[in-house]
Amino acid sequence: MKLKLLALLPLVLLAGLLMVIVRLGPAELIQGSSVPPVEKLAITSLELAPGQIALSVLNDGPDAVTIAQVVVDDAFWTFHAEPTATLEHLRRTRITIPYPWVHGETHVVRLMTSTGLTFERVIAVAVETPKPTLRFLGVFALIGLYVGVIPVALGLLWYPLMRSIGRSGMQFLLALTVGLLVYLLVDSAHDGLQAAGQVPGSLQGPALFVFGAIAAYLTLDMIGAALAKRRQRERAAAGIPSGWLLALLIAIGIGLHNFGEGLAIGSAFALGELGLGTLLIVGFTLHNTTEGLAIIAPLAKGGDLAERVSLGRLVQLGLIGGVPTIAGAWLGAFVQSPIISVFFLALGVGAIAQVTRQILMQSAGEGGITAYLREAHVVGGLAAGVLVMYVTGLIVG
């Protein structure tokens, strides 16, 4: 009993201290009370409907902010604020502006606060924001299919070929896979940190990204270890390959990455920043076909792991790796939120890192990673993987 009270004491004192700070305001004593308020607004999303611009606005600063006027393309314009034009810390409001924006052209929306500060959002290319109709769901499913599912499935078709190559050929392929994954890792980390920069400051995007990635890594590692333990017991009885387990983990990692990629494609397309031309689809398809290769590489590994995997299982892997692109594209198109992008890109990075480590450990075997990374065909494979991603990435631009 006494111990419990003692445990509560610091909390009670802390609450008291907070009250004193709020009441007496030592910050005001330090800076004086005539310091102007710190105003920060973040325009978190933007929708264009015919003759109308709508914004979601978040107060990202410590002090209350009143949106007094709206200026569109250097002209004061009428607007409606719902529910309020005065925002407390971290409160949101929706601003609708009846404005005759012009398809395909650039517009600039400025919010003017009661102190005359302005916060700006550039609409680089104005196109109507898609509404979640069946038709648009279909269109984005198709985009996801093109850039996610089909390429991964195509990559999987190499499965029979890969079963017939020798041990060093196999090591080359696995190294190639590692090259591909490391490239994806760098790419996703860059995208994720970039998206983190767009997140309102008070939501601490970079921290979300880094810890999201670490969490994904540890979680996948934990699940992988648990599954491996179970499979080891079952394997004796049912003969399920451990190559399958690794393939599954890679598929999950790539699936998470593709979800992030789908988000980016969906939102860029919806924002009109991406003309989804033929060349771009070709680029993504080539780029992602290599992901299919990465998934099946462990299944084809020579030696004791060369068990046969059924077609059903292959399809399963393909779906896990590719279908998230569709879900990502949907979400990205209709919910313009950098924070969601940060979150999923972080998960993707963590997952890919874990999978990469797994492949390296498994293919290095007893010789150890240092010796493994000195073999010419391994280094060649790594370089080839990175090169393939870089070159196909050039097409995407």
């Binding site: 006027q69 004061f76 314009w77 009428t78 604020a81 009661s114 005359g116």
Partner: protein, 351 residues
Amino acid sequence: MDWKLSRRSWLHAAGFGSLLSGVAVWGRAVTGQNLEVPHEGHASHHGHVLGTVGRVAPTACSPLTYLRSWNFSHLPPLERAKFYRETARADGTTLREYEIYAVDREIEIAPGVSFPAWTYNGQVPGPTIRATEGDRLRVRFLNQGSHPHTIHFHGWHPPEMDGSLPEHEVLPGESFTYEFDAEPAGLHLYHCHSVPLKRHIHKGLYGTFIVDPRGGRPPADEMVMMMNGFDTNFDNDNEVYAVNTVANAYMVEPIKVTVGRPVRIYLVNITEFDLINSFHLHGMFFDAYRPGTRTEPSDHTDTITLCQGERAILETTFRYTGDFMFHAHQSEFAELGWMGLFRAEAPRDET
């Protein structure tokens, strides 16, 4: 009538058949979120409506009051006497004494948007000073602001009255009396000449200085317009433009004039940061006298362009009743607040 057409295209109000509905939309627009508009009318989301939202709070010298007041004529006599005194002199001229003080004040330059101004007598533009050629001016200037300020008058005066050199600066809490004769007849201005000049001017330290010729000008409905701008976010560029400080003020409350009665506008450009400003009047032409020092008009036009510090007297007479827009003919300035309306009414029956 073409002014109707241009007004409508200005509103971008697609689908409006009549001017009336356009007016209804403007009414809705300016009353904005705060005030209920009584009639149904066409709601603003059917059209696209330019302009500020809401209304500014009334002040002692609101744009409509400022427009037609000089020598503190908007104040009641007792109050006025604190700032302005006239004494007849033997030679028939008048000694005019002014009390001008500089003070920092937040002013509202667009509905809900405040600006940390430096002002003369708490208002932007400062009080209009008006004298007749040959009058003696005695302006006692008290600096109650937070920075050194001066009053620099345009017109004839000896160098020690110029209010421009470092030794002319009046430090906070100190005062100085400017004394000179009002010359020449014409439209002039005054402003602070402390450095940095840009900031002292754009923060609001300026006003109009009118010198009437001996015997005066022909009678007219006279008004003062200072074209100004405000850099609200301190990026050396104006976010808000206006005549007489408040964006769209005369759009919300049109300036009433009478058909057939001459109108005289004392137009001064004090806009900082932009090279020029301009004045364009719809549906009519005017005589321009730049800067009002000669009796022959320098121009007969409907648009006049002025550099910073330039000014012109504009004279015209309304022929038709109705609303006549006036605005900068730089569309950007117009759409950022420098736009207003004259409402011409039929003369009252005087029988």
